[in-house]
Protein backbone atom coordinates (compact mmCIF):
# COMPACT_ATOMS: atom_id res chain seq x y z
CA UNK A 1 0.00 0.00 0.00
CA UNK A 2 1.44 3.38 -0.94
CA UNK A 3 1.76 6.27 1.46
CA UNK A 4 -0.96 8.23 -0.35
CA UNK A 5 -3.42 5.39 -0.08
CA UNK A 6 -2.61 4.98 3.57
CA UNK A 7 -3.39 8.60 4.32
CA UNK A 8 -6.69 8.40 2.48
CA UNK A 9 -7.82 5.44 4.48
CA UNK A 10 -6.70 7.32 7.59
CA UNK A 11 -9.04 10.18 6.70
CA UNK A 12 -12.05 7.99 6.26
CA UNK A 13 -12.24 7.47 9.98
CA UNK A 14 -13.30 11.06 10.49
CA UNK A 15 -15.52 11.70 7.52
CA UNK A 16 -17.27 9.66 4.91
CA UNK A 17 -16.08 9.74 1.33
CA UNK A 18 -18.87 10.82 -1.03
CA UNK A 19 -19.57 7.32 -2.24
CA UNK A 20 -20.00 6.02 1.27
CA UNK A 21 -22.17 8.98 2.14
CA UNK A 22 -24.42 8.12 -0.76
CA UNK A 23 -24.53 4.54 0.39
CA UNK A 24 -25.44 5.74 3.85
CA UNK A 25 -28.32 7.85 2.57
CA UNK A 26 -29.51 5.06 0.34
CA UNK A 27 -29.45 2.57 3.21
CA UNK A 28 -31.33 4.96 5.43
CA UNK A 29 -33.97 5.63 2.81
CA UNK A 30 -34.27 1.91 2.16
CA UNK A 31 -34.73 1.24 5.86
CA UNK A 32 -37.40 3.91 6.25
CA UNK A 33 -39.01 2.63 3.09
CA UNK A 34 -39.08 -0.87 4.45
CA UNK A 35 -40.54 0.33 7.75
CA UNK A 36 -43.11 2.40 5.90
CA UNK A 37 -43.95 -0.54 3.70
CA UNK A 38 -44.51 -2.71 6.76
CA UNK A 39 -46.90 -0.15 8.19
CA UNK A 40 -48.31 1.03 4.90
CA UNK A 41 -51.79 0.13 6.07
CA UNK A 42 -51.57 2.69 8.84
CA UNK A 43 -51.21 5.41 6.24
CA UNK A 44 -54.50 4.31 4.74
CA UNK A 45 -56.12 4.44 8.15
CA UNK A 46 -54.86 7.93 8.77
CA UNK A 47 -56.33 9.00 5.47
CA UNK A 48 -59.75 7.58 6.29
CA UNK A 49 -59.63 9.08 9.81
CA UNK A 50 -59.13 12.46 8.22
CA UNK A 51 -62.06 11.95 5.87
CA UNK A 52 -64.29 11.05 8.77
CA UNK A 53 -63.16 13.98 10.89
CA UNK A 54 -64.00 16.21 7.94
CA UNK A 55 -67.45 14.70 7.62
CA UNK A 56 -68.05 15.36 11.33
CA UNK A 57 -67.44 19.02 10.59
CA UNK A 58 -69.66 18.65 7.55
CA UNK A 59 -72.56 17.46 9.65
CA UNK A 60 -71.95 20.38 11.98
CA UNK A 61 -73.41 22.35 9.09
CA UNK A 62 -76.74 20.92 10.01
CA UNK A 63 -76.50 21.98 13.63
CA UNK A 64 -78.19 25.25 13.08
CA UNK A 65 -81.39 26.07 11.32
CA UNK A 66 -84.73 24.38 11.12
CA UNK A 67 -84.55 20.59 11.67
CA UNK A 68 -80.87 21.07 12.53
CA UNK A 69 -79.06 19.28 15.31
CA UNK A 70 -79.24 22.25 17.62
CA UNK A 71 -82.98 22.45 17.21
CA UNK A 72 -83.48 18.69 17.61
CA UNK A 73 -81.24 18.53 20.65
CA UNK A 74 -82.75 21.53 22.35
CA UNK A 75 -86.27 20.43 21.53
CA UNK A 76 -85.62 16.86 22.68
CA UNK A 77 -83.74 17.63 25.86
CA UNK A 78 -85.05 21.11 26.50
CA UNK A 79 -81.54 22.31 27.26
CA UNK A 80 -78.98 24.52 25.66
CA UNK A 81 -76.77 22.98 23.02
CA UNK A 82 -73.60 23.63 24.97
CA UNK A 83 -74.59 21.33 27.85
CA UNK A 84 -75.54 18.76 25.26
CA UNK A 85 -72.15 18.76 23.55
CA UNK A 86 -70.20 19.01 26.82
CA UNK A 87 -71.72 15.75 28.05
CA UNK A 88 -71.22 14.10 24.67
CA UNK A 89 -67.55 15.00 24.47
CA UNK A 90 -66.81 13.90 28.04
CA UNK A 91 -68.53 10.54 27.67
CA UNK A 92 -66.76 10.07 24.37
CA UNK A 93 -63.44 10.37 26.23
CA UNK A 94 -64.38 7.48 28.46
CA UNK A 95 -65.51 5.49 25.45
CA UNK A 96 -62.27 5.98 23.57
CA UNK A 97 -60.24 5.23 26.68
CA UNK A 98 -62.09 2.00 27.37
CA UNK A 99 -61.88 0.70 23.83
CA UNK A 100 -58.18 1.43 23.41
CA UNK A 101 -57.06 0.55 26.92
CA UNK A 102 -56.73 -3.19 26.42
CA UNK A 103 -54.60 -2.95 23.33
CA UNK A 104 -52.47 -0.22 24.87
CA UNK A 105 -51.91 -2.15 28.06
CA UNK A 106 -51.12 -5.38 26.24
CA UNK A 107 -48.77 -3.61 23.89
CA UNK A 108 -46.84 -1.88 26.66
CA UNK A 109 -46.35 -5.12 28.53
CA UNK A 110 -45.26 -6.86 25.35
CA UNK A 111 -42.65 -4.33 24.40
CA UNK A 112 -41.30 -4.34 27.93
CA UNK A 113 -41.08 -8.15 27.90
CA UNK A 114 -43.47 -8.28 30.87
CA UNK A 115 -46.26 -10.27 29.31
CA UNK A 116 -44.85 -13.65 30.37
CA UNK A 117 -44.73 -12.44 33.96
CA UNK A 118 -48.32 -11.26 33.94
CA UNK A 119 -49.44 -14.56 32.48
CA UNK A 120 -47.63 -16.60 35.11
CA UNK A 121 -48.91 -14.31 37.84
CA UNK A 122 -51.68 -15.77 39.94
CA UNK A 123 -53.66 -12.64 39.05
CA UNK A 124 -53.43 -13.61 35.36
CA UNK A 125 -54.35 -11.15 32.66
CA UNK A 126 -57.68 -10.29 34.28
CA UNK A 127 -56.19 -8.57 37.31
CA UNK A 128 -53.64 -6.88 35.18
CA UNK A 129 -56.29 -5.36 32.92
CA UNK A 130 -58.47 -4.49 35.86
CA UNK A 131 -55.60 -2.59 37.46
CA UNK A 132 -55.05 -0.80 34.23
CA UNK A 133 -58.75 0.13 33.97
CA UNK A 134 -58.82 1.47 37.51
CA UNK A 135 -55.72 3.55 37.03
CA UNK A 136 -56.89 4.92 33.70
CA UNK A 137 -60.31 5.85 35.03
CA UNK A 138 -58.94 7.50 38.14
CA UNK A 139 -56.51 9.41 36.01
CA UNK A 140 -59.00 10.54 33.42
CA UNK A 141 -61.63 11.41 36.01
CA UNK A 142 -59.49 14.37 36.99
CA UNK A 143 -59.84 15.63 33.43
CA UNK A 144 -63.55 15.02 33.52
CA UNK A 145 -64.03 16.93 36.76
CA UNK A 146 -62.13 19.86 35.32
CA UNK A 147 -64.24 19.79 32.16
CA UNK A 148 -67.47 19.72 34.14
CA UNK A 149 -66.34 22.42 36.57
CA UNK A 150 -65.29 24.77 33.79
CA UNK A 151 -68.39 23.88 31.77
CA UNK A 152 -70.75 24.57 34.64
CA UNK A 153 -69.15 27.47 36.44
CA UNK A 154 -67.56 29.32 33.54
CA UNK A 155 -69.79 28.56 30.59
CA UNK A 156 -73.04 28.01 32.45
CA UNK A 157 -73.86 24.43 31.51
CA UNK A 158 -76.87 23.27 33.48
CA UNK A 159 -76.62 19.82 34.99
CA UNK A 160 -79.30 18.05 37.01
CA UNK A 161 -77.89 15.58 39.49
CA UNK A 162 -79.92 13.63 42.04
CA UNK A 163 -78.91 10.59 44.14
CA UNK A 164 -81.08 8.40 41.92
CA UNK A 165 -79.42 10.00 38.90
CA UNK A 166 -75.99 9.13 40.21
CA UNK A 167 -77.05 5.55 40.70
CA UNK A 168 -78.35 5.34 37.12
CA UNK A 169 -75.12 6.91 35.86
CA UNK A 170 -73.11 4.28 37.69
CA UNK A 171 -75.27 1.48 36.30
CA UNK A 172 -75.11 2.77 32.74
CA UNK A 173 -71.38 3.44 32.90
CA UNK A 174 -70.68 0.04 34.40
CA UNK A 175 -72.61 -1.85 31.74
CA UNK A 176 -71.10 0.34 29.06
CA UNK A 177 -67.60 -0.44 30.32
CA UNK A 178 -68.35 -4.16 30.24
CA UNK A 179 -69.71 -3.93 26.70
CA UNK A 180 -66.86 -1.76 25.45
CA UNK A 181 -64.36 -4.02 27.22
CA UNK A 182 -65.62 -6.71 24.88
CA UNK A 183 -64.73 -4.53 21.91
CA UNK A 184 -61.44 -3.56 23.57
CA UNK A 185 -60.51 -7.18 24.14
CA UNK A 186 -61.34 -8.12 20.57
CA UNK A 187 -59.19 -5.23 19.47
CA UNK A 188 -56.34 -6.38 21.75
CA UNK A 189 -56.60 -9.92 20.41
CA UNK A 190 -55.63 -8.57 16.99
CA UNK A 191 -52.17 -7.85 18.39
CA UNK A 192 -51.40 -11.55 18.06
CA UNK A 193 -54.15 -12.82 15.78
CA UNK A 194 -53.30 -10.58 12.84
CA UNK A 195 -49.97 -9.36 14.19
CA UNK A 196 -51.28 -5.80 14.59
CA UNK A 197 -48.11 -4.66 16.31
CA UNK A 198 -47.78 -1.39 14.43
CA UNK A 199 -49.65 1.72 15.42
CA UNK A 200 -53.12 1.07 14.02
CA UNK A 201 -55.40 -1.74 15.02
CA UNK A 202 -58.41 -1.84 12.67
CA UNK A 203 -61.19 -2.75 15.12
CA UNK A 204 -60.65 -0.11 17.76
CA UNK A 205 -59.84 2.35 15.04
CA UNK A 206 -63.12 1.60 13.29
CA UNK A 207 -65.23 1.93 16.42
CA UNK A 208 -63.44 4.94 17.88
CA UNK A 209 -63.42 6.92 14.64
CA UNK A 210 -67.03 6.20 13.85
CA UNK A 211 -68.23 6.95 17.38
CA UNK A 212 -67.44 10.59 16.81
CA UNK A 213 -69.40 10.53 13.60
CA UNK A 214 -72.51 8.54 14.42
CA UNK A 215 -72.99 7.97 18.15
CA UNK A 216 -74.41 11.34 19.03
CA UNK A 217 -71.35 12.94 20.53
CA UNK A 218 -71.79 16.30 18.81
CA UNK A 219 -75.27 16.04 17.33
CA UNK A 220 -78.23 13.66 17.64
CA UNK A 221 -77.96 10.62 15.33
CA UNK A 222 -81.48 11.54 14.25
CA UNK A 223 -80.08 14.13 11.85
CA UNK A 224 -78.94 11.26 9.63
CA UNK A 225 -82.54 10.20 9.09
CA UNK A 226 -82.99 13.03 6.66
CA UNK A 227 -79.38 13.54 5.54
CA UNK A 228 -77.87 10.04 5.32
CA UNK A 229 -79.98 7.13 6.67
CA UNK A 230 -77.31 4.34 6.57
CA UNK A 231 -75.35 6.19 9.25
CA UNK A 232 -78.43 6.24 11.45
CA UNK A 233 -78.64 2.45 11.19
CA UNK A 234 -74.93 2.20 11.95
CA UNK A 235 -75.34 4.32 15.07
CA UNK A 236 -77.75 1.75 16.43
CA UNK A 237 -75.04 -0.92 16.28
CA UNK A 238 -72.84 0.79 18.86
CA UNK A 239 -73.62 0.48 22.58
CA UNK A 240 -72.19 3.90 23.21
CA UNK A 241 -74.98 5.52 21.20
CA UNK A 242 -77.46 4.29 23.79
CA UNK A 243 -75.25 5.13 26.73
CA UNK A 244 -74.68 8.70 25.57
CA UNK A 245 -78.42 9.16 25.14
CA UNK A 246 -79.14 7.73 28.60
CA UNK A 247 -76.49 9.77 30.36
CA UNK A 248 -77.82 12.96 28.77
CA UNK A 249 -81.29 12.06 29.92
CA UNK A 250 -80.00 11.79 33.48
CA UNK A 251 -77.71 14.79 33.52
CA UNK A 252 -79.98 17.14 31.59
CA UNK A 253 -83.50 15.94 32.29
CA UNK A 254 -82.92 14.31 35.69
CA UNK A 255 -84.47 11.06 34.49
CA UNK A 256 -84.78 8.26 37.07
CA UNK A 257 -85.50 4.55 37.08
CA UNK A 258 -89.18 5.26 36.51
CA UNK A 259 -88.39 6.46 33.02
CA UNK A 260 -89.18 3.76 30.46
CA UNK A 261 -86.53 5.19 28.12
CA UNK A 262 -83.84 4.69 30.79
CA UNK A 263 -84.98 1.14 31.44
CA UNK A 264 -84.90 0.26 27.77
CA UNK A 265 -81.44 1.83 27.43
CA UNK A 266 -80.12 -0.19 30.37
CA UNK A 267 -81.62 -3.35 28.92
CA UNK A 268 -80.15 -2.70 25.47
CA UNK A 269 -76.74 -2.00 26.96
CA UNK A 270 -76.95 -5.20 28.99
CA UNK A 271 -77.63 -7.18 25.82
CA UNK A 272 -74.57 -5.63 24.17
CA UNK A 273 -72.52 -6.46 27.26
CA UNK A 274 -73.70 -10.06 27.44
CA UNK A 275 -72.77 -10.59 23.81
CA UNK A 276 -69.60 -8.53 23.48
CA UNK A 277 -67.80 -9.34 26.71
CA UNK A 278 -67.62 -13.15 26.32
CA UNK A 279 -66.75 -12.63 22.68
CA UNK A 280 -63.90 -10.35 23.75
CA UNK A 281 -62.58 -12.85 26.28
CA UNK A 282 -62.77 -15.61 23.70
CA UNK A 283 -60.91 -13.61 21.07
CA UNK A 284 -58.30 -12.44 23.54
CA UNK A 285 -57.63 -15.96 24.76
CA UNK A 286 -57.34 -17.14 21.18
CA UNK A 287 -54.73 -14.44 20.57
CA UNK A 288 -52.70 -15.43 23.61
CA UNK A 289 -52.93 -19.08 22.61
CA UNK A 290 -51.62 -18.29 19.18
CA UNK A 291 -48.69 -16.46 20.75
CA UNK A 292 -48.08 -19.39 23.05
CA UNK A 293 -47.92 -21.72 20.08
CA UNK A 294 -45.54 -19.53 18.17
CA UNK A 295 -43.40 -18.73 21.18
CA UNK A 296 -44.09 -15.05 20.64
CA UNK A 297 -45.27 -13.90 24.05
CA UNK A 298 -42.08 -11.92 24.19
CA UNK A 299 -40.37 -10.04 21.48
CA UNK A 300 -37.09 -11.90 21.94
CA UNK A 301 -37.03 -15.63 22.48
Amino acid sequence: MSRAQASVSEDTKHSLPPKQRLEYVASYVARRGRLWYRFKISFLFTLVSMMIAISIWFFFNFIFGEGGAKAIAEQDFGSNYFTYVLIGVIINQYIVITITLYMGTLQDSYWQNQLEMYITSPGRMGTFFLSSIVWTYLYSSINVLIYFAVGIFVFGATIALSPAGILILIVILFILIVALSGIGLISASMFFLINAKGDVEPISWFVVTLTGLVSGVFYPPEIFITHFPPLYALSKLFPQTYAIQGIRRVLINGADFASPEILSIILTLAIFAVILFPLGIYAFKAGIRKAEREGKLTRWT
Binding site: Q112, Y118, T120, S121, R124, F128, E292
Partner: protein, 335 residues
Protein backbone atom coordinates in the same frame (compact mmCIF):
# COMPACT_ATOMS: atom_id res chain seq x y z
CA UNK B 1 -41.60 -32.12 40.21
CA UNK B 2 -41.72 -32.03 36.46
CA UNK B 3 -42.31 -34.89 34.07
CA UNK B 4 -42.31 -34.53 30.33
CA UNK B 5 -42.58 -37.20 27.75
CA UNK B 6 -42.23 -37.12 24.00
CA UNK B 7 -42.20 -33.32 23.81
CA UNK B 8 -41.86 -31.96 20.28
CA UNK B 9 -41.84 -28.32 19.36
CA UNK B 10 -42.08 -27.11 15.82
CA UNK B 11 -41.69 -23.42 15.09
CA UNK B 12 -42.93 -21.89 11.92
CA UNK B 13 -40.31 -19.53 10.63
CA UNK B 14 -40.42 -17.23 7.66
CA UNK B 15 -38.92 -18.91 4.66
CA UNK B 16 -35.98 -16.80 3.53
CA UNK B 17 -36.48 -17.91 -0.08
CA UNK B 18 -40.08 -16.84 -0.20
CA UNK B 19 -40.81 -13.73 -2.24
CA UNK B 20 -44.13 -12.05 -1.70
CA UNK B 21 -44.25 -10.58 -5.19
CA UNK B 22 -43.43 -13.82 -6.96
CA UNK B 23 -46.95 -15.12 -7.17
CA UNK B 24 -46.11 -18.59 -8.36
CA UNK B 25 -43.20 -19.11 -6.02
CA UNK B 26 -42.45 -22.73 -5.29
CA UNK B 27 -41.50 -22.09 -1.70
CA UNK B 28 -44.25 -21.69 0.82
CA UNK B 29 -44.24 -18.65 3.05
CA UNK B 30 -43.19 -20.53 6.15
CA UNK B 31 -40.96 -23.44 6.82
CA UNK B 32 -40.81 -25.65 9.85
CA UNK B 33 -38.05 -25.65 12.40
CA UNK B 34 -38.18 -28.55 14.78
CA UNK B 35 -36.67 -27.19 17.98
CA UNK B 36 -37.37 -30.20 20.19
CA UNK B 37 -37.49 -33.82 19.10
CA UNK B 38 -39.19 -36.17 21.50
CA UNK B 39 -37.78 -34.93 24.79
CA UNK B 40 -38.43 -36.97 27.94
CA UNK B 41 -37.49 -35.33 31.17
CA UNK B 42 -37.93 -35.91 34.83
CA UNK B 43 -36.94 -33.44 37.52
CA UNK B 44 -37.51 -34.46 41.10
CA UNK B 45 -38.12 -32.53 44.26
CA UNK B 46 -34.97 -31.38 46.02
CA UNK B 47 -32.70 -31.93 43.08
CA UNK B 48 -30.94 -29.67 40.65
CA UNK B 49 -31.14 -30.70 37.03
CA UNK B 50 -28.80 -29.10 34.55
CA UNK B 51 -29.77 -28.71 30.92
CA UNK B 52 -26.74 -28.30 28.73
CA UNK B 53 -26.36 -27.80 25.04
CA UNK B 54 -24.87 -25.48 22.45
CA UNK B 55 -26.60 -22.31 21.23
CA UNK B 56 -29.85 -23.10 19.55
CA UNK B 57 -30.03 -26.56 21.09
CA UNK B 58 -33.51 -25.90 22.44
CA UNK B 59 -32.82 -25.18 26.11
CA UNK B 60 -34.88 -22.02 26.34
CA UNK B 61 -37.63 -23.63 24.30
CA UNK B 62 -37.77 -26.48 26.80
CA UNK B 63 -37.76 -24.05 29.73
CA UNK B 64 -40.63 -22.08 28.27
CA UNK B 65 -42.65 -25.23 27.77
CA UNK B 66 -42.11 -26.23 31.39
CA UNK B 67 -43.09 -22.74 32.52
CA UNK B 68 -46.34 -23.03 30.57
CA UNK B 69 -45.45 -20.20 28.21
CA UNK B 70 -45.10 -22.24 25.07
CA UNK B 71 -47.39 -24.94 23.72
CA UNK B 72 -45.62 -27.93 22.17
CA UNK B 73 -47.06 -29.77 19.17
CA UNK B 74 -46.65 -33.23 20.65
CA UNK B 75 -46.07 -34.82 23.99
CA UNK B 76 -47.50 -34.80 27.47
CA UNK B 77 -46.32 -33.43 30.74
CA UNK B 78 -47.10 -32.53 34.29
CA UNK B 79 -45.69 -29.69 36.31
CA UNK B 80 -46.04 -29.97 40.06
CA UNK B 81 -48.62 -32.64 39.34
CA UNK B 82 -50.70 -30.40 37.09
CA UNK B 83 -51.30 -31.32 33.50
CA UNK B 84 -49.36 -29.01 31.25
CA UNK B 85 -52.30 -28.73 28.85
CA UNK B 86 -55.45 -29.17 30.88
CA UNK B 87 -54.40 -27.33 34.02
CA UNK B 88 -52.29 -24.68 32.42
CA UNK B 89 -52.91 -21.93 34.91
CA UNK B 90 -52.06 -24.06 37.91
CA UNK B 91 -48.98 -25.42 36.19
CA UNK B 92 -47.87 -21.90 35.37
CA UNK B 93 -48.23 -20.57 38.87
CA UNK B 94 -46.18 -23.49 40.20
CA UNK B 95 -43.10 -22.25 38.41
CA UNK B 96 -40.73 -19.34 38.90
CA UNK B 97 -38.89 -18.72 35.66
CA UNK B 98 -35.88 -16.49 35.38
CA UNK B 99 -34.51 -15.76 31.95
CA UNK B 100 -31.26 -14.07 31.21
CA UNK B 101 -31.97 -10.54 30.13
CA UNK B 102 -35.38 -10.32 31.71
CA UNK B 103 -34.33 -7.28 33.69
CA UNK B 104 -35.90 -5.32 30.84
CA UNK B 105 -39.19 -5.75 32.68
CA UNK B 106 -38.05 -3.26 35.30
CA UNK B 107 -39.00 0.38 35.26
CA UNK B 108 -35.76 2.29 35.19
CA UNK B 109 -37.34 5.28 36.88
CA UNK B 110 -38.28 3.32 40.00
CA UNK B 111 -35.90 2.16 42.71
CA UNK B 112 -34.94 -1.49 43.02
CA UNK B 113 -37.13 -1.74 46.08
CA UNK B 114 -40.18 -0.31 44.33
CA UNK B 115 -39.65 -2.51 41.31
CA UNK B 116 -39.38 -5.62 43.43
CA UNK B 117 -42.38 -4.61 45.51
CA UNK B 118 -44.47 -4.34 42.37
CA UNK B 119 -43.33 -7.64 40.89
CA UNK B 120 -43.66 -9.34 44.24
CA UNK B 121 -47.30 -8.36 44.37
CA UNK B 122 -47.85 -9.39 40.75
CA UNK B 123 -46.29 -12.78 41.46
CA UNK B 124 -48.64 -13.25 44.37
CA UNK B 125 -46.78 -12.09 47.48
CA UNK B 126 -49.14 -10.52 50.03
CA UNK B 127 -48.27 -6.98 51.13
CA UNK B 128 -47.49 -8.00 54.67
CA UNK B 129 -44.80 -10.44 53.55
CA UNK B 130 -43.28 -8.17 50.94
CA UNK B 131 -40.56 -6.59 53.03
CA UNK B 132 -39.21 -9.79 54.49
CA UNK B 133 -39.39 -11.61 51.16
CA UNK B 134 -37.57 -8.83 49.34
CA UNK B 135 -34.93 -8.64 52.05
CA UNK B 136 -34.31 -12.34 51.70
CA UNK B 137 -34.13 -12.22 47.91
CA UNK B 138 -31.81 -9.22 47.87
CA UNK B 139 -29.51 -10.93 50.35
CA UNK B 140 -29.52 -14.12 48.31
CA UNK B 141 -28.20 -12.28 45.27
CA UNK B 142 -26.01 -9.87 47.19
CA UNK B 143 -27.85 -6.66 46.42
CA UNK B 144 -29.01 -5.81 49.93
CA UNK B 145 -27.10 -2.54 50.05
CA UNK B 146 -28.48 -1.36 46.71
CA UNK B 147 -32.14 -1.43 47.47
CA UNK B 148 -32.66 2.29 47.01
CA UNK B 149 -30.72 2.59 43.82
CA UNK B 150 -32.18 2.77 40.35
CA UNK B 151 -31.89 -0.03 37.81
CA UNK B 152 -30.68 2.41 35.17
CA UNK B 153 -27.53 2.95 37.24
CA UNK B 154 -26.75 -0.72 37.79
CA UNK B 155 -24.03 -2.64 36.02
CA UNK B 156 -25.23 -5.44 33.78
CA UNK B 157 -24.28 -8.07 36.34
CA UNK B 158 -26.23 -6.24 39.01
CA UNK B 159 -29.24 -6.03 36.75
CA UNK B 160 -29.00 -9.76 36.29
CA UNK B 161 -28.89 -10.19 40.05
CA UNK B 162 -31.91 -7.98 40.37
CA UNK B 163 -33.88 -10.11 37.98
CA UNK B 164 -32.79 -13.22 39.87
CA UNK B 165 -34.07 -11.57 43.03
CA UNK B 166 -37.38 -10.99 41.28
CA UNK B 167 -37.58 -14.68 40.53
CA UNK B 168 -37.03 -15.56 44.19
CA UNK B 169 -39.86 -13.41 45.53
CA UNK B 170 -42.74 -15.80 45.18
CA UNK B 171 -42.47 -19.11 46.93
CA UNK B 172 -43.21 -21.74 44.29
CA UNK B 173 -42.24 -25.40 44.18
CA UNK B 174 -40.31 -25.17 40.92
CA UNK B 175 -37.53 -22.82 39.86
CA UNK B 176 -36.30 -22.62 36.29
CA UNK B 177 -33.14 -20.63 35.70
CA UNK B 178 -32.16 -19.96 32.12
CA UNK B 179 -28.47 -19.05 32.27
CA UNK B 180 -28.63 -17.50 35.73
CA UNK B 181 -24.98 -16.66 36.28
CA UNK B 182 -23.96 -15.38 32.86
CA UNK B 183 -22.50 -11.92 33.57
CA UNK B 184 -22.09 -12.54 37.27
CA UNK B 185 -18.71 -12.38 39.00
CA UNK B 186 -17.24 -15.58 40.46
CA UNK B 187 -17.79 -14.68 44.10
CA UNK B 188 -21.40 -13.66 43.62
CA UNK B 189 -21.94 -16.67 41.38
CA UNK B 190 -20.71 -18.96 44.13
CA UNK B 191 -23.02 -17.23 46.55
CA UNK B 192 -25.97 -17.73 44.21
CA UNK B 193 -25.04 -21.36 43.60
CA UNK B 194 -24.90 -21.98 47.32
CA UNK B 195 -28.27 -20.37 47.66
CA UNK B 196 -29.72 -22.58 44.94
CA UNK B 197 -28.32 -25.68 46.59
CA UNK B 198 -29.14 -24.96 50.21
CA UNK B 199 -32.19 -22.71 50.17
CA UNK B 200 -33.94 -24.06 47.10
CA UNK B 201 -32.99 -27.66 46.38
CA UNK B 202 -32.14 -28.08 50.05
CA UNK B 203 -35.67 -27.21 51.07
CA UNK B 204 -37.34 -29.52 48.60
CA UNK B 205 -37.74 -27.25 45.59
CA UNK B 206 -37.26 -28.58 42.11
CA UNK B 207 -34.52 -26.61 40.38
CA UNK B 208 -33.66 -26.71 36.70
CA UNK B 209 -30.76 -24.72 35.36
CA UNK B 210 -29.71 -24.23 31.80
CA UNK B 211 -26.18 -23.04 31.45
CA UNK B 212 -23.13 -22.90 29.25
CA UNK B 213 -20.92 -22.91 32.31
CA UNK B 214 -20.13 -26.61 32.49
CA UNK B 215 -17.85 -26.21 35.42
CA UNK B 216 -20.73 -24.70 37.32
CA UNK B 217 -23.13 -27.40 36.22
CA UNK B 218 -20.65 -29.99 37.37
CA UNK B 219 -20.55 -28.41 40.80
CA UNK B 220 -24.21 -28.04 41.56
CA UNK B 221 -26.24 -30.33 39.34
CA UNK B 222 -27.29 -33.67 40.72
CA UNK B 223 -28.27 -34.73 37.27
CA UNK B 224 -27.64 -33.34 33.85
CA UNK B 225 -29.15 -33.64 30.46
CA UNK B 226 -27.31 -32.74 27.29
CA UNK B 227 -29.33 -31.75 24.26
CA UNK B 228 -28.31 -30.72 20.80
CA UNK B 229 -30.47 -29.74 17.85
CA UNK B 230 -33.52 -30.57 19.92
CA UNK B 231 -32.46 -34.13 20.65
CA UNK B 232 -31.58 -35.51 24.03
CA UNK B 233 -28.10 -36.99 23.86
CA UNK B 234 -27.58 -38.15 27.42
CA UNK B 235 -29.26 -37.82 30.75
CA UNK B 236 -28.26 -39.06 34.17
CA UNK B 237 -26.46 -38.36 37.43
CA UNK B 238 -23.54 -36.02 36.79
CA UNK B 239 -20.93 -38.33 38.28
CA UNK B 240 -22.14 -41.30 36.33
CA UNK B 241 -22.13 -39.43 33.05
CA UNK B 242 -18.62 -38.25 33.66
CA UNK B 243 -17.54 -41.82 34.34
CA UNK B 244 -19.33 -43.30 31.38
CA UNK B 245 -18.38 -40.75 28.80
CA UNK B 246 -15.18 -39.31 30.11
CA UNK B 247 -13.54 -42.03 32.13
CA UNK B 248 -10.59 -41.27 34.37
CA UNK B 249 -7.10 -42.18 33.32
CA UNK B 250 -3.58 -42.10 34.57
CA UNK B 251 -0.88 -40.29 32.64
CA UNK B 252 2.41 -42.00 33.43
CA UNK B 253 5.91 -40.70 32.65
CA UNK B 254 8.53 -43.41 32.76
CA UNK B 255 11.88 -44.43 31.28
CA UNK B 256 10.60 -46.96 28.80
CA UNK B 257 7.27 -48.42 27.79
CA UNK B 258 7.83 -52.04 26.91
CA UNK B 259 5.39 -54.49 25.41
CA UNK B 260 5.71 -56.55 28.57
CA UNK B 261 4.65 -53.64 30.69
CA UNK B 262 1.59 -53.01 28.54
CA UNK B 263 0.79 -56.69 28.71
CA UNK B 264 1.19 -56.75 32.47
CA UNK B 265 -0.92 -53.65 32.94
CA UNK B 266 -3.75 -54.83 30.75
CA UNK B 267 -3.78 -58.02 32.73
CA UNK B 268 -4.82 -56.04 35.79
CA UNK B 269 -8.53 -56.28 36.42
CA UNK B 270 -9.13 -52.54 36.88
CA UNK B 271 -7.27 -51.47 33.76
CA UNK B 272 -9.17 -51.06 30.55
CA UNK B 273 -6.39 -50.07 28.25
CA UNK B 274 -2.77 -49.01 28.29
CA UNK B 275 -1.71 -46.77 25.45
CA UNK B 276 1.62 -45.41 24.28
CA UNK B 277 1.48 -41.63 24.03
CA UNK B 278 4.91 -40.81 22.61
CA UNK B 279 7.85 -39.30 24.42
CA UNK B 280 9.21 -36.06 25.80
CA UNK B 281 12.45 -34.76 27.19
CA UNK B 282 12.62 -33.25 30.59
CA UNK B 283 15.78 -32.03 32.33
CA UNK B 284 17.96 -34.27 30.20
CA UNK B 285 15.88 -37.38 30.70
CA UNK B 286 13.99 -39.04 27.93
CA UNK B 287 10.53 -39.81 29.24
CA UNK B 288 8.00 -42.02 27.58
CA UNK B 289 4.32 -41.34 28.07
CA UNK B 290 1.72 -43.95 28.84
CA UNK B 291 -2.00 -43.48 29.25
CA UNK B 292 -3.77 -46.03 31.40
CA UNK B 293 -7.55 -45.94 31.40
CA UNK B 294 -9.84 -47.71 33.82
CA UNK B 295 -10.58 -47.40 37.49
CA UNK B 296 -7.10 -46.12 38.19
CA UNK B 297 -7.74 -43.71 41.02
CA UNK B 298 -8.80 -46.23 43.62
CA UNK B 299 -6.13 -48.71 42.54
CA UNK B 300 -3.27 -46.29 42.33
CA UNK B 301 -0.97 -48.32 44.58
CA UNK B 302 -1.18 -51.46 42.52
CA UNK B 303 -0.65 -49.43 39.39
CA UNK B 304 2.46 -47.77 40.74
CA UNK B 305 3.91 -51.07 41.93
CA UNK B 306 3.29 -52.80 38.61
CA UNK B 307 5.01 -50.05 36.69
CA UNK B 308 7.87 -49.38 39.09
CA UNK B 309 9.08 -52.98 39.28
CA UNK B 310 10.82 -52.85 35.95
CA UNK B 311 10.98 -49.18 35.09
CA UNK B 312 12.09 -45.86 36.34
CA UNK B 313 8.88 -44.05 37.12
CA UNK B 314 9.14 -40.28 36.90
CA UNK B 315 5.61 -39.19 37.49
CA UNK B 316 2.04 -40.41 37.55
CA UNK B 317 -0.94 -38.12 37.24
CA UNK B 318 -4.56 -39.11 37.66
CA UNK B 319 -6.73 -37.19 35.22
CA UNK B 320 -10.39 -36.92 36.01
CA UNK B 321 -12.56 -35.93 33.10
CA UNK B 322 -14.43 -32.68 33.45
CA UNK B 323 -17.96 -32.24 32.29
CA UNK B 324 -16.39 -30.02 29.71
CA UNK B 325 -14.57 -33.00 28.19
CA UNK B 326 -17.71 -35.05 28.31
CA UNK B 327 -19.72 -32.31 26.66
CA UNK B 328 -17.20 -31.83 23.89
CA UNK B 329 -17.02 -35.53 23.30
CA UNK B 330 -20.75 -36.08 23.22
CA UNK B 331 -21.76 -33.03 21.24
CA UNK B 332 -18.87 -33.24 18.80
CA UNK B 333 -19.27 -36.98 18.44
CA UNK B 334 -22.80 -36.29 17.34
CA UNK B 335 -21.69 -34.29 14.33
Amino acid sequence: MIELSGIEKIYKVRNPDHRAWRRKSEESRFEELQALKGIDLKARKGEILGILGPNGAGKTTLMKIMAGLLIPEHGTGTVNGYDLFKERNKARTSVNLSRSGDWVIFDYKLSILHNLRYWGVVMGVPWKDLDSVIEEALTAVGLETKRNEYPENLSSGMRQKMSLARCLLSDRPIYLFDEPTANIDPISAKFIRDFAMSSLAGTGKTVIISTHNLWEAEMICDRIMIIDEGKKLVEGPTEQIKKTYGGEYALVRLSEVTDTLIFNLEALSFVEQALRMGETWERGDKQQLLKVTGDVKSNINELVVTIAIHNRLFNIEIKEPSLNDVFMKIVEGEE
